[in-house]
Symmetry: C2
Subunit: 553 residues, 2 copies
Amino acid sequence: MKVIKGFQADLNVNYQLNVINLIKHAVRNYSRQEIVSRNLDGTLFRYTYSDAYKRMQRLANSLESIGIKVGDRIGVIAWNTCQHFEIYFGLPGMGAVMVSLNLRLAPQDLAYVINHSGIKYIIVDEDLIKVVESIIPLCKGLIGYIIITDKHLSEIETILKPIYLYEDLLSKALFNYDWPNLDENSVYAACYTTGTTGKPKGVYYSHRNVYLQALMFAAQFSMNVNDVIFQLVPMFHVLGWSKPLAAIYGGAKLIFAGNWNMNDLKELTNILVQEKVTVSAAVPAVFMAMLEIIRKMKQKPDLTGARLICGGSEPPIALMRGFWDETRAEIIHSYGSTETMAITTLNTLKPWLEKELSEEELWNLKKKQGIIVSGLDIKIIDKNGIELPHDGKSSGEILLKGPWVTENYFNDPQTEESFTESGYFRTGDAGYLDSEGYLKITDRLKDVIKSGGEWISSIDMENSLMSHSSVLEAAVVGIFHPKWDERPLALIVLREDFKFTTKEQIREHLSKSFAKWQIPDEILFVNKIPRTSVGKLDKKMIRIEYRELYTKN
Amino acid sequence: MKVIKGFQADLNVNYQLNVINLIKHAVRNYSRQEIVSRNLDGTLFRYTYSDAYKRMQRLANSLESIGIKVGDRIGVIAWNTCQHFEIYFGLPGMGAVMVSLNLRLAPQDLAYVINHSGIKYIIVDEDLIKVVESIIPLCKGLIGYIIITDKHLSEIETILKPIYLYEDLLSKALFNYDWPNLDENSVYAACYTTGTTGKPKGVYYSHRNVYLQALMFAAQFSMNVNDVIFQLVPMFHVLGWSKPLAAIYGGAKLIFAGNWNMNDLKELTNILVQEKVTVSAAVPAVFMAMLEIIRKMKQKPDLTGARLICGGSEPPIALMRGFWDETRAEIIHSYGSTETMAITTLNTLKPWLEKELSEEELWNLKKKQGIIVSGLDIKIIDKNGIELPHDGKSSGEILLKGPWVTENYFNDPQTEESFTESGYFRTGDAGYLDSEGYLKITDRLKDVIKSGGEWISSIDMENSLMSHSSVLEAAVVGIFHPKWDERPLALIVLREDFKFTTKEQIREHLSKSFAKWQIPDEILFVNKIPRTSVGKLDKKMIRIEYRELYTKN
């Protein structure tokens, strides 16, 4: 779309929207605000915005001291810690690019990302050194490593060299740093997104993109100095869903969950309650498990006012209701991707809908992806590229554009199929918008099941399964069928206390919402459903595993 | 400050931060949100974001139909009405510049603004036609007038020509408009600021400036769809202190107060209560009068959760306490100017200060100008231009810079004295910052009183006077004195029920905070204190009126 120049007075065109200004202003205003970081041994480390800022400046000086320059790409493989938070500002603040490396990627994919982005140094948590060692032979451009650890140099066993210790560097560095006035279009960070096919694709966020996303998120979610943000989402996923940046804009208290997995959820739930968390985010499986833990607590925690952002997939009503009934915390669904810097919708209610709708209708509304945040353009298009009305039923592909949505993959031919000529990102999701502005995803375009020429929505069916009180997790995929081309298969993980549930009960439940021909031929109860490195259902893997299920019979 | 370019990936550099996107997204998300406008007869007109947006599009088509083009400057002289709100978007949205004209300016100043900005058309409320007629002979560039009225063309008596009627134009226009994709640095609006000396100075706001200010304001003030914003501040003053723009970003309900003066405050206070207003803004005198009205109400209104922004000068503690005790509304002090697009500070409390400080200390804190909003750079400099520490005592001139702070006056040699080379705005106010980031103004640099080589702060003394329970308004100025060079004079308006107060009581009150030599030689009780067209104390006028007070004796 052509840009039209209006009257030009040029009275303020030079102020740069860079992340340095975000952190400088946050520290000026909220120097005493607390930051908490969970150590490997489960203890909590506490310091303040002001303390962190001094270390960010030392970090910037350190990076310069080992020869890192404006424009250099530096990889980071780290858990959710205060050091990772310091790196979020100290590294891009001195003008380098923070390439967030997903520690769960296969070595060849990780090596591809490192080589594609031209990383020179890697900053790595000590217990993740093995991940880096595994890709050394594949990455010739690497010239050094910075290890985050409390140990002495002599205690570190590794083939990596040369190595520097994060704390050593900081202790030797000056604590005052003269930040450069970075052009707002300079790259702040890069995140690579791994699709189900092809090589990882590079999404590069500029300082301006990040600044505007933080501002939008703080505004649309009313995040401020009274909030306590619990950073559960890995900080290598889309900048931790942008929460640390929005949090500092608002001056909120931050808690970093450290190195955690599903086995740590009891401990993390205790932190959630004890630190009086008001904002967190995770995929439904995490909150489902937390809810189970809370249900078993003798004293019900009061989380009134807490807003828990649930992303990755639609939260079941049982989850939202459960949290509300048990704790008064609100689960808020959000939808996004690496290309859109996570937050593109937030499912918040409007005062008039709260008056007009019944309780049941409100819960159903809350399952939708929510309102497209201000700042983003959206188009729903049909197969011919024609824009569809926002009528609450016309479903088509969802296209997004906005001040922080990428319009290209960096140096990648996959750009062509994923972006329109006018710079819209093709999400690959199908859905519709209603007249109130709520988005509803109806399917992943590539996940749709085609049975005898008719479509079956795998997402609708998963959501229906998840709404059954016995179901903890569910996946529905299309499996090759000699007669019908594809037929659905459902995999289900049952909740601990509901192992007695039968396939017939599940079929009955589905038949309330689906036609008989749409019900899966096979329903399998499993202990675990395969997931990708970022926690999404790994449907490619499921399809491979069960590819002969409907041909063998 | 030199701009440093970091790594460039150019994955999103084209999305324009223009006000068209603000309103488009607001209407997409909150089409049913209500807008209320107070008619001349006191009745309330109600419609929705969606209704307003259709009229904005009709307006844009109308303006094109009479020959207005991208880049043209169009003057607006209007009260706080829904039409004025429509103009805020329809006019700059089609690429023209909205020049906000202060209807209280003297004709020669108004003519200067019109000629300096190159205005072609003026949009004017019918009852303000006389204001425009008075400057016609001085403004040769004007080619047409649009009258906002419900009347027919034949009923309008005026020497203006050609004239168009706002409603006629809209009713003939198409309701769909294809907004241009305006470059974000295009000028959105111009406001001229009138100092105590010199010609009015032009501050031109770009679309980007306005977009970012709206976003910041919504974020820092947590304005959202649940809020009800009462627009009291004239919309020709710094875009109504930017509230209408922040309001639509958040999707809030808007109420426009129409054509009002201090005599209408009883009616407006009723609207405040009945419409459950949560956000408003005004100078202290307005809220003081409202408080008096509320005190006399039989049933105390419950305004819990309301945040009333008080600007122009420091709110007395009695005002803040009074509102809190009577209604549970919070008065929040803010500081700003035309050059900074109004909001540069907001006096919000931090959770740790609420724990640590006594009630008395918290009230005193709330009198300060507040926390510099995120996004703004601030410098406090001494006479030699050296930056002072943020130690809560080192007072110097306050300099500001940021994404929406102007760095020049448009085509004006007065730029040189008001802006530094690096683009900081010299506020002309003296003050200090504390380590918590709260700003305290100690004086207007030009208002300081120099008595026998020593300084007396007129602002401190006014604040002290205002804290006396009998005082409604107060002004302190320096008057020429043959021996001491200058001596202070205090003018006081007493509150209705406190007319018995004596000068001696006032002197006694002042002596608690001031040295004997600082107490004004003369204290005069008056019915009214002269104010400028924007409602500030007109100290120039007071000095002229009393210039011989201390020489005659």
